[in-house]
Subunit: 410 residues, 2 copies
């Protein structure tokens, strides 16, 4: 079964918005074993959207249109589907009730403009929207299934998970779920060296192996398409073994593992907590990564972000950057200070340039200090040239360093 996804939105073609729905729906389709060869974005233009729907219907079985279901004049997906298939739109009671519901719940009169959102092509059905105003649409026509989904990401995701996936699973119980995959998560190695180490394995046609760089991490996917789940899982496991023999020291987890989560579980196992002090380099992003992940949150003892602005008093004497010393000494003192202040097993300090300093003053050296209690390890790293992402790189570098230290001390 082949799917094709179309997004409708001039804001996408003007680059005013990042298309995060694109990733979510492709992930969902892949996990159901539905192939996808094209994803297209068109503007808020009825004719071009209709033409895209016709082209997709000629080469795919499932056609998705994301966006263009809002109440404004530039929302054209319903009209484009109607034009592409030559099926008129009519007002639908179910759709109208969905549109009205959120206003009723808030005790507000529904604006007149929302009436348009209750239009559905003849033969189609409204899809409920639990978290927003716009109903979705599903229409089966000449052996193809068309889905129209609202553009706001949370509504798009909810409708996909709660309406579209169950619809497809009950409509095609035999055909779904025959792609199996496992993703190994790597850090501390570059893509070229990975290609060098694994070159021949990338040519494998079953299971397939491919890489995807994600900031400071690399995803290494092993994918098997098979009728037989047991066989697919066995063949994936065999490939994983080969990969682990060659580059095992860089693998920190698999599938849905995150580096903060892996670190959180390792620390929990050792009965240690961690506290963080950061400068405006990573600017709270390391603290955020550790506090938001449910595993690392359990061992997260607290985080402090220091200001670099002169004249501001700061948090306390023990938690300001020491003056007149090296970066390494400062990182060491701050890591010790935050560990003691919070009574944590581990204190980590991240010092470095803010994005502004990296851009304007060409600073690119960051320092990570890790106080383990019995010893303090300090390491300097280059932020490379990626100055627009100083905070993310800084926080990720600190996480990778913390993971490496935990591996080293065993």
């Amino acid at each position: 079964m082949i799917a094709e996804v179309i997004f409708s939105g001039t804001e996408l073609l003007l680059g005013q918005i990042l298309n995060i729905n694109g990733q979510y729906i492709q992930q969902t389709l892949a996990s159901m074993g539905i192939d996808s060869y094209h994803q297209l974005t068109v503007g808020d233009n009825r004719d071009r959207c209709a033409q895209a729907i016709r082209q997709a219907a000629a080469r795919a079985d499932l056609i998705f249109v994301g966006g263009g279901l809002g109440p404004t004049e530039d929302d054209v997906s319903r009209e484009a589907l109607s034009e592409a298939l030559q099926i008129p739109l009519v007002q639908d009671e179910t759709a109208l009730n969905i549109v009205r519901r959120i206003y009723l719940a808030r005790g507000i009169t529904m604006p007149e403009v929302n009436m348009k959102q209750a239009l559905i092509p003849v033969g189609g059905k409204a899809l409920d929207n639990r978290v927003g105003v716009a109903p979705g649409i599903v229409l089966e026509h000449q052996g193809k299934i068309f889905f129209l989904l609202p553009g706001p990401p949370f509504e798009f995701n909810c409708m996909l998970d709660e309406q579209v996936v169950p619809y497809l699973k009950s409509r095609f119980p035999e055909e779904m779920g025959i792609i199996y995959s496992r993703v190994l998560k790597l850090c501390g190695i570059g893509e070229s060296f990975l290609a060098q180490s694994l070159g021949d394995l990338f040519k494998s046609s079953y299971p397939t192996v491919f890489t995807c760089v994600k900031g400071s991490y690399i995803d290494l996917s092993i994918t098997a398409k098979a009728e037989d789940e047991l066989r697919a899982r066995r063949d994936i496991a065999a490939m994983e073994n080969i990969l682990r023999q060659r580059i095992g020291q860089y693998i920190f987890g698999a599938d849905r593992d995150t580096l903060p989560g892996v670190i959180g579980r390792e620390l929990a196992r050792r009965g240690k907590s961690v506290a963080v002090v950061e400068e405006e380099c990573s600017g709270g992003l390391l603290t955020h990564m550790l506090s938001v992940d449910p595993f690392s949150a359990r061992v997260f003892a607290g985080g402090v972000v220091l200001s670099k602005t002169p004249g501001l008093k700061g948090l306390s004497e023990g938690l300001s950057r020491p003056q007149g010393t090296t970066e390494a000494k400062a990182a060491e003192q701050l890591a010790r200070a935050i560990r003691r202040l919070t009574g944590s097993g581990i204190g980590i300090a991240v010092l470095g340039p803010s994005q502004q300093e990296a851009l304007v003053n060409n600073k690119n050296m960051m320092t990570v200090g890790i106080d383990l209690g019995h010893e303090i390890l300090v390491k300097e790293s280059l932020l490379w040239d990626n100055k627009s992402e100083v905070a993310r790189r800084g926080a990720e570098t600190a996480l990778v360093r913390l993971w490496q230290v935990l591996q080293e001390i065993g």
Copy 2:
């Protein structure tokens, strides 16, 4: 002049990666007045990529291919361009020097797999890559221009800014830059009420007006395509006046303004600094937003993120969540504590559920306390249903509240 952008990457169609390059290139094209009607993603498949290049060349003047220039077997863009145009690939000295350079600088021998990255179609030219290994390619052929750019976002952006834009500007000095636009930034209003207030204006064909929801914010764009810059700017300003009369109280800025930046400038004007204390709800994201923006960084006095894990000591007596009291009282006390501890003009406390608590225990109420020194304002807000984005929503809600409070106190 019409452009069409193609991305090559199975990882995009499997949803393993978010296509942030898509936004960047569309923004760049729009700012140069280059129209764009389609953006297509295909997998690492030479034939489908070649077919996409042919289709794009039939309806556009500039054809961009992003991704597929890496050293691995699944990188097929060069080969697809060669196949689409029936032009053979040859090894290029300039390209080879670009590939070698980064290894020379690091004192490492270039892996053999990278040789492939020095191939260029006959008649094409290598584009320098200042921040990575893969050279880009530009090829002029039968009145069309083809650009191949590397997939990693920072390399993609750099090459676009430093190679492609100057190339196009010098190649077509007359045609670039005839779209003018201004984006008004709104918060504290929903899209439907905006549509209700502005409905007739969305029908305007010159200048055009459209909205784009961005999390807790809405972008309201006014766009004019004109030969004459003065006229375009005057007509945009006239439309902006009408919009400000109707919904002025929700507009916090324009164009590249961010809410942290606007708040930072307002606080600097008043000579006030701000300090933050957060629970795992926003989990450091408010601190991060304020510390990373260059304007708010100047008034940012520090941030603290409290742990919710029982048994961990926390930072100090004055900075732990008060027990046995209401959320409102706790927010009040924490806002006061962080303001006093840092000697700041304003202290802000954000309390609420972690994403885990929102998901598992169905908690959705957050509380923002703002201590202005002479008074403390506390407001509770619903996190709506968006449980997968508790941290972002929480931090944005706190920012919006801080901006509203600054407007109210004048």
